[in-house]
């Protein structure tokens, strides 16, 4: 006992701090959220913009913020694992919304920054559960101009999870008619991007396309094309000089770009397939998560601060014990569901990482390998044509 007493004294201060933090942020933090995006109507174009004004967008795989603000209990790792998986498939929802808006060129989900695209969207998941979603979105174009850097927050309602999202043995989930509970966030991001684009002159958009072309060319052959771009004092890239239109190198760059597009289209398709595969389980998971948070909120509202009563008779004591027991059983079941969700996703993630044949590693690694191959190919073709 002496050892334990010594140990306990040693940890007393830190544990006191941890416990006071935990009782306030148990299970899922229900923090006060900043302004919600509210009901949003997507700004859809009847006709897409002219081709020279079209911008291609890359939605990068989201990231998460590493925060140690909450104390961790045994089993909490499973929720981190879920958020890590969300970083892989939530971008598909934003991509689909941007595509539906009909305001842009090709929109793809990509694992890394890609010099062949005009506009990049990077999202960071700040909070994600069935009840609320909070994303930090930053959009920059190929000239380094920042379009958006903003936090978007949305909360779901009970009606966002229709009866079809309830688990049934025959699987009644209707993906085609299901709207994501946080669709407003993606629509607000899409609308904000259109607002920024509208504030730019047409010439600025044409120039942006040229900057992208030269950035891609520089990525393939830095020695040849780096001088075509200059960086201003504000850090923005602009065209300094352009090669002649009939320059054969430009034709080869265009050829490489075409092949590259085929590759990133394939990568994007895999991310979309991943989302399609996991969507039924993911929606189910979010529904459970929302129900659990609502349950917690209700129990907090109903709880009298001295709800245990001042009575210390057996009935009161056993009720206190039962409340603790059931809250723990409930949380454990939720953890089990989270584990079940991760188990169900594992084959889909594995498939995503093993899809691009002859390239190995994760999708990010395969993407890097592909860009290396293209560079070598470009160099090889240039050398061959030079000898001719």
């Amino acid at each position: 006992m002496r050892t334990l007493t010594h140990l306990l004294k040693y940890h007393a201060l830190s544990v006191t701090f941890l416990l006071s933090a935990c009782t306030q942020t148990t299970v899922e933090p229900v923090a006060v959220l900043p302004d919600l995006v509210g009901d949003v109507v997507l700004n859809q174009a009847i006709q897409p913009p002219n081709e020279d004004l079209l911008l291609d967008i890359g939605v990068l795989i989201f990231t998460t913020r590493n925060e140690q603000q909450h104390s961790y209990e045994i089993g909490d790792w499973v929720f981190d694992e879920i958020i890590q998986k969300e970083t892989q498939f939530l971008p598909s929802l934003l991509k689909n919304t941007l595509t539906t808006s009909n305001q842009w060129g090709a929109v793809r989900v990509i694992p890394e920054h890609d010099p062949s695209l005009d506009l990049f969207i990077h999202g960071e998941i700040l909070q994600s559960n069935g009840k609320s979603l909070q994303l930090q979105i930053r959009a920059t174009d190929s000239s380094n101009r920042e379009w958006i850097n903003k936090i978007y927050t949305d909360q779901s309602l009970a009606e966002d999870y229709p009866e079809s999202t309830r688990f049934t043995l025959d699987g009644t989930f209707d993906a085609a008619n299901f709207a994501d509970p946080f669709q407003d966030i993606y629509e607000q991001i899409a609308n904000d991007l259109v607002t920024v684009r509208s504030s730019l002159e047409s010439q600025a958009l044409i120039d942006l396309n040229l900057v992208t072309d030269m950035r891609y060319a520089s990525d393939l052959s830095p020695d040849t094309f780096t001088d075509t771009l200059q960086e201003g004092k504000n850090g923005l890239l602009s065209i300094d000089s352009l090669p002649a239109l009939n320059d054969p190198m430009l034709a080869r760059v265009a050829d490489m770009k075409h092949r590259h597009y085929l590759f990133i289209d394939t990568v994007d398709e895999y991310y979309q397939t991943l989302y399609d595969d996991v969507q039924p389980a993911y929606v189910l998971w979010r529904r459970y998560s929302a129900e659990q948070i609502s349950e917690l909120e209700t129990s907090r509202e109903e709880r009298n601060p001295s709800g245990h009563g001042n009575s210390n008779n057996f009935l009161s004591l056993s009720q206190r014990y039962d409340r603790y027991k059931w809250s723990k059983i409930f949380k454990n079941e939720f953890n089990d569901l989270a584990v079940g969700f991760n188990n169900e996703l594992a084959p889909a993630i594995l498939e995503l990482n093993s899809q691009v044949h002859s390239l190995t590693g994760t999708m990010e690694q395969q993407y890097r390998q592909w860009r290396g191959i293209l560079r070598q190919l470009f160099e090889l073709e240039n050398n061959t044509s030079g000898k001719k």
Partner: protein
């Protein structure tokens, strides 16, 4: 052969045998598990355990005994007036500071109600314990599992507005402590015998950190039938199982 040369020969033989053992494929580096030296070695609690009613406390008998001791102590104190007040012996709960749980006003619960609560939370007749190097998991029928890591430090294993659960090791004894609103504390102290055949569980219930009611239960190891199925939890299909020994990844792909 002289005495010295005999002992030298024996030591050479032993050395050769040792070399042979060390070089044997059984102990080759590939087959040795990685041992995390930061984790202390713990007694093996794993197994299926069933209550031994003969060796376990009967809560009513234990309550009568506690009340009798109280009366005797009170009588002794009255007869030896002026002597220092002697409190009955009980192990105090683990102090873990401010928990933010609602406090109780007035006097704590009486010993009869504490005894009834101790009986109420000790009704399970079997316990299943699984143990790996990193953690011990104790499952009791109708209760949430008690899970504790094997490391040295005090660990918080659950927290909600309804209660806070911590666990710690006291030597080779495993202790879980549950603090409930109104200064009610429950502790479970698990001890396993050196021959791994008997598991003792001391449940103590405290009100306002005063005298505890203690209930000891003994459990004997028994051979539970081996699980016929190998299961994995999924979200949309619930528990997916196949027969033990088969690869579960194949059913997840379906």
């Amino acid at each position: 052969m002289s005495k010295i040369s005999k002992s030298t020969a024996i030591s050479h033989c032993l050395f050769a045998a040792l070399l042979l053992v060390l070089n044997s494929p059984v102990l080759s580096q590939d087959s040795l598990p990685q041992l995390d030296l930061n984790l202390p070695l713990r007694m093996d609690f794993s197994g299926s355990w069933e209550k031994d009613f003969n060796r376990s406390d009967n809560w009513q008998d234990e309550l009568s005994r506690t009340l009798r001791i109280r009366q005797e102590t009170a009588a002794r104190q009255q007869s030896s007036s002026g002597s220092t007040r002697v409190r009955p012996h009980s192990t105090p709960p683990i102090p873990i500071g401010n928990t933010n749980l609602p406090q109780s006003r007035g006097r704590g619960a009486n010993i009869v109600d504490l005894a009834r609560l101790a009986e109420y939370i000790s009704r399970h007749n079997t316990i299943k314990i699984t143990q790996v190097r990193e953690e011990v998991r104790i499952e009791r029928q109708g209760e949430a599992a008690l899970v504790c890591g094997t490391e040295h430090n005090l660990q918080q294993t659950f927290a909600s507005e309804h209660g806070i659960e911590t666990c710690a090791w006291d030597g080779q004894q495993l202790i879980f402590q549950i603090m409930l609103p109104g200064d009610l504390t429950i502790s479970h102290r698990f001890t396993v015998s050196s021959d791994n055949q008997v598991l003792n569980l001391l449940t103590s219930v405290y009100s306002r950190n005063r005298e505890a009611f203690n209930l000891i239960q003994a459990f004997n190891r028994y051979q539970a039938p081996a699980a016929e199925f190998n299961c994995v939890q999924t979200l949309s299909r619930g528990k997916v199982c196949n027969q033990s020994g088969n690869d579960l990844s194949t059913i997840l792909d379906k």
